[in-house]
């Protein structure tokens, strides 16, 4: 029974809670047991059982009173990037070692207000910089999926690797993620779950450790599209504390899930056919097109001419913003401070603290960002990248103006790879993981990854749908139709 409880979706758990068939305390205890039995996945890095049970009891009272919102009593995991009051929140970085925020991020507060139960904090790449969860100070999170009979540990993707692993392994019903270049959608695809990055501005960024502020967005990582709709609704809000959060009403996303996409126009971007892309990914994409066509959508070929330049633009803009955002980690106000030698002044304190506290990938990006913003290079790199970003956004505006409702692409250029397999590759090869997702962040659009099949090694593969700005409801409905047609029900065999 315990296992069955943790396998529930948010929607089934909500209905069972309201019907009195299960309590939030029972659900929460089942998840806490599953988490304790899954240390091999290294998904939960700070467990909060006391907070969880306290919130579960409060949720049960609320449900009994009959006034409970959809997320009430639902046990979820929170990515370590979200500041959670009194609970370690260190963005998987050594430089925030010991940091316990005095405040709660708006998104995690919204979830708490809706009655969701926080089980603990989830592993991730350091400061969300990575595509494999291998840059974490906590060590690698591990994908519950394996290749056939091979016991190689695979990456759950990144940066929201712990969130993806935890949801796929049924340690929690759902989890929060954040996505700067694909950090929700790529790990979702690698683990056979659903993940949506909403339109930039839909979720407040307040209290989320900043990586690249013009690209960062939070979103839910869930077992299916309906759950993504429910949880996204609870996460979004206008927030005066984030000047980029949109003052727009949050629609009832779940109500939009009719599965009817007759007459919708789905664009297939020519530029997403990459050289060297595995045939399995091409085949999956073709099947996706056929499924949406069978459901009554019109499939059209489109062109997004600047696609090729999205990753290079991203690797100017994101490091530039990161170098500014991460300037605050100086050993003065929070986190780690290096031990100083006799005669060391404040500059040595900064330099030693940051050398010790940041991992290699973070240092690399901060320094690249520093370089592209430095005198003499600002125009050549940073301003040029921002101009290219404007062109990438215009590519999307042009196809939407032609009547395209959503765009279908593969979510990733491959299935999950083995942990350590990219160790000797140059950094740029790792960056290519985000080739299909990063355009969406640059254009500020909503994008969702939906599991759509297995490769020949038995690993999940995902498709991505990209929607018009602020039209997450419509996007979720298209994703729902795709999910219905794909009928993906596979689960990883338990080995942990």
């Amino acid at each position: 029974m315990t296992n069955e409880l943790t396998k529930m979706t948010i929607a089934t758990a909500r209905d069972a809670l309201r019907a009195g068939e299960v309590t939030s305390v029972e659900l929460t205890e089942a998840c806490l047991t599953a988490i304790d039995g899954a240390d091999a996945l290294n998904a939960f890095v700070h467990k909060t059982p006391d907070i969880a049970l306290e919130r579960a009891r409060a949720a049960d009272d609320r449900i009994k009173a009959g006034e409970a919102p959809a997320m009430c009593g639902i046990p979820v995991g929170i990515k370590d990037l979200f500041c959670t009051s009194g609970v370690p929140s260190q963005a998987a970085s050594g430089i925030l070692d010991g940091f316990r925020p005095e405040y709660e991020s708006t998104v995690s507060q919204n979830l708490a207000d809706a009655g969701a139960v926080m089980l603990g904090k989830l592993n991730m790449d350091e400061f969300a910089m990575g595509s494999s969860n291998e840059t974490s100070v906590y060590g690698n999170a591990v994908n519950p999926w394996r290749r056939g009979d091979d016991d190689t540990n695979l990456t759950p993707g990144g940066s929201s690797g712990g969130s993806a692993s935890a949801v796929a392994a049924d340690l929690c019903l759902a989890a929060t993620g954040t996505d700067t270049g694909g950090s929700i959608r790529q790990p979702a695809a690698f683990t056979g779950i659903t993940g949506i990055k909403p339109t930039y501005g839909r979720c407040s960024r307040w209290g989320i450790v900043a990586f690249a502020s013009s690209l960062d967005q939070a979103g839910p990582m869930t077992k299916d599209v309906r759950d993504a709709a429910i949880m996204l609704g609870a996460m979004c809000s206008h927030d005066p504390k984030d000047s980029t959060s949109a003052d727009l009403p949050v629609p009832d996303f779940e109500a939009a899930l009719t599965g009817d996409i007759k007459g919708k126009t789905i664009g297939i971007p020519r530029e997403y056919h990459m050289d060297g892309m595995p045939q399995e990914i091409e085949d999956l994409w073709t099947r996706g097109k056929e499924m949406l066509a069978d459901a009554g959508a019109k499939i059209v070929d489109i062109t997004l001419p600047h696609t090729k330049y999205a990753l290079p633009a991203y690797y100017v803009i994101a490091p530039a913003e990161a170098s500014s955002n991460l300037a605050r980690y100086d050993g003065v106000r929070y986190g780690h401070r290096a031990k100083l030698a006799q005669g060391d002044g404040i500059t040595e304190m900064y330099e030693k603290t940051r050398a010790e506290g940041f991992g290699d990938e973070v240092k690399r990006r901060v320094m690249i960002g520093t370089y592209v913003l430095s005198a003499g290079f600002y125009d050549a790199y940073y301003n040029r990248a921002r101009k290219v970003r404007a062109l990438i956004k215009k590519d999307f505006e042009d196809v939407f103006a032609q009547g395209v409702d959503a765009i279908l692409t593969p979510a990733t250029p491959s299935a999950a790879f083995g942990l350590g397999e990219m160790k000797d590759a140059d950094p740029v090869r790792m960056y290519l993981n985000d080739v299909f997702t990063v355009t969406v962040n640059l254009a500020g659009l909503p994008g969702i990854a939906v599991p759509a099949g297995l490769d020949k090694q038995g690993l999940p593969l995902g498709l991505q749908l990209i929607g018009r700005p602020w039209e997450e409801a419509d996007l979720l409905n298209t994703a729902y139709a795709l999910e219905q047609a794909a009928g993906f029900v596979a689960k990883p065999a338990k080995w942990w």
Partner: protein, 95 residues
């Protein structure tokens, strides 16, 4: 554009990250790989394009210029590696 060890050292200094001399050649090489990748942007015709400042065309909200927060000295200092007498403490700044 090729980055030499001297430039790598200068960037590390600007970023306030201590890098040992022995690590500079490898760092310069990595920078060159990444910057080589970024150089592709030079192929794009950006004539007359305005650099993007905001991905969603939104006017920032304004509010009254009044104090809305404060008086939380204990909370502000609670995570400091070194705090004394209500202040953050740091090594000597001025000789």
């Amino acid at each position: 554009m090729s980055i030499d060890e001297g430039t790598a050292a200068r960037v590390a200094k600007l970023a306030r990250i201590k890098v040992e001399d022995a690590e500079l050649p490898a760092l310069a090489k990595e920078f060159n790989t990444i910057l080589g990748f970024i150089e592709q942007l030079n192929e794009v015709d950006v004539e007359g394009v305005e650099p993007m400042t905001s991905v969603t065309p939104m006017r920032l909200k304004r509010r009254e210029d009044v104090v809305t927060d404060g008086s939380q000295q204990d909370k502000v200092l609670s995570n400091a590696p070194d705090a004394r007498e209500g202040f953050f403490a740091v090594p000597k700044v001025v000789e």
